[in-house]
């Protein structure tokens, strides 16, 4: 591995530790059965980060031709900056929905695989949902993002564009 890749991997690792601790603190503060609240707070954190991150990542990128162009950017350059890898698959109904598929979502990689942890894993997708809503809203695409674990550590993010 080159020096820069090693550094990138290590930074990712640092982020994962930070994220894990944030989730843990939020869960402790909220108490039991307050999963929705925790997820909302994670989304809101992610949203602010997404706004900043897209501003920097798109700075030298040519103007987006259209909405699809912007979403493709999120799947490639933006996701790479955030998680050191691309989104693996993008589908769209060419109306108002995009489905982003990540085969090996970083924040799920260290979680246990059994089905009983799927619910817990859901919380680990909230921050990334916020990243996407923040980034997309900052380029003028207001949307709602929901995420789902398909088969650990793969997941999908469904982006519904709001009018």
């Amino acid at each position: 591995m080159s020096v820069t890749t090693v550094q990138a991997e290590t930074s990712q690792c640092l982020f994962e530790f930070l994220h894990m601790e944030i989730v843990s603190q939020l869960q402790q503060e909220a108490g039991p059965d307050k999963k929705g609240e925790v997820q909302q707070r994670l989304e809101s954190l992610g949203h602010r980060v997404g706004e900043s991150l897209v501003e920097r990542t798109s700075r030298d990128h040519p103007r987006f031709k259209n909405e699809l162009d912007a979403v493709v950017f999120m799947c490639k350059q933006f996701w790479v900056t955030a998680f050191n890898k691309n989104i693996d698959n993008l589908k769209t109904n060419h109306q108002d929905t995009y489905v982003l598929h990540d085969n090996a979502f970083r924040l799920l990689q260290h979680l246990s695989e059994g089905n009983q942890y799927r619910e817990e894993a859901q919380t680990y997708l909230s921050f990334a949902c916020g990243l996407l809503t923040g980034a997309l809203s900052n380029v003028g695409i207001k949307c709602q993002v929901t995420a789902e674990v398909t088969k650990m550590p793969a997941c999908t993010f469904q982006v519904k564009v709001l009018l």
Partner: protein
């Protein structure tokens, strides 16, 4: 071709930042007027990008000269995140200064993107960052350097 006013306009089209090189009451009002008037021109330019009507590469952020007035020329730049930058410069030459303007806008864009990364800045608020102010001061300085080349 010294820059005399720098403005940053939010995606909702209100000014987040407006600064003249020499803050004096009269000139200030005039720049405010110029900047406000130019927002409409920016909107129009952005909406016609990619059509035959547009005069430039739709992939570029730089929008070129928005309109000249007697004393000043107003240039525009629109980012992917719908933020607009306006630069007002002295109308001292009829020569095109696109290269220099692009450089100034690029610096402004870098400064803005960095400023947004300050976690204590809430997007949509007026910009009060010291670092950003310093970057704008450098832009005023840099543009003076262009004038001396004429």
């Amino acid at each position: 071709m010294a820059a005399v006013c720098v403005a940053v306009i939010s995606k909702q089209n209100f000014p987040l930042y407006l600064r003249s090189v020499n803050p004096q009451n009269e000139a200030d009002l005039q720049f405010q007027y110029l900047v406000h008037a130019s927002i409409d021109v920016v909107e129009e330019k952005v909406s016609t990008l990619g059509t035959p009507k547009a005069g430039q590469d739709p992939r570029e952020h730089y929008l070129g000269l928005l309109y000249p007035s007697e004393q000043y020329k107003v240039y525009g730049y629109a980012t992917n995140t719908r933020v607009k930058f306006i630069l007002v410069v002295e109308n001292t030459t009829s020569q095109s200064r696109d290269t220099e303007m692009k450089m100034l806008f690029k610096n402004l864009h870098v400064a803005y993107a960095d400023m947004l990364c300050n976690p204590f800045y809430t997007p949509g608020q007026k910009i009060t960052s010291r670092t950003f102010n310093n970057a704008v001061s450098s832009i005023f300085q840099m543009s003076k350097g262009f004038t001396s080349k004429e």
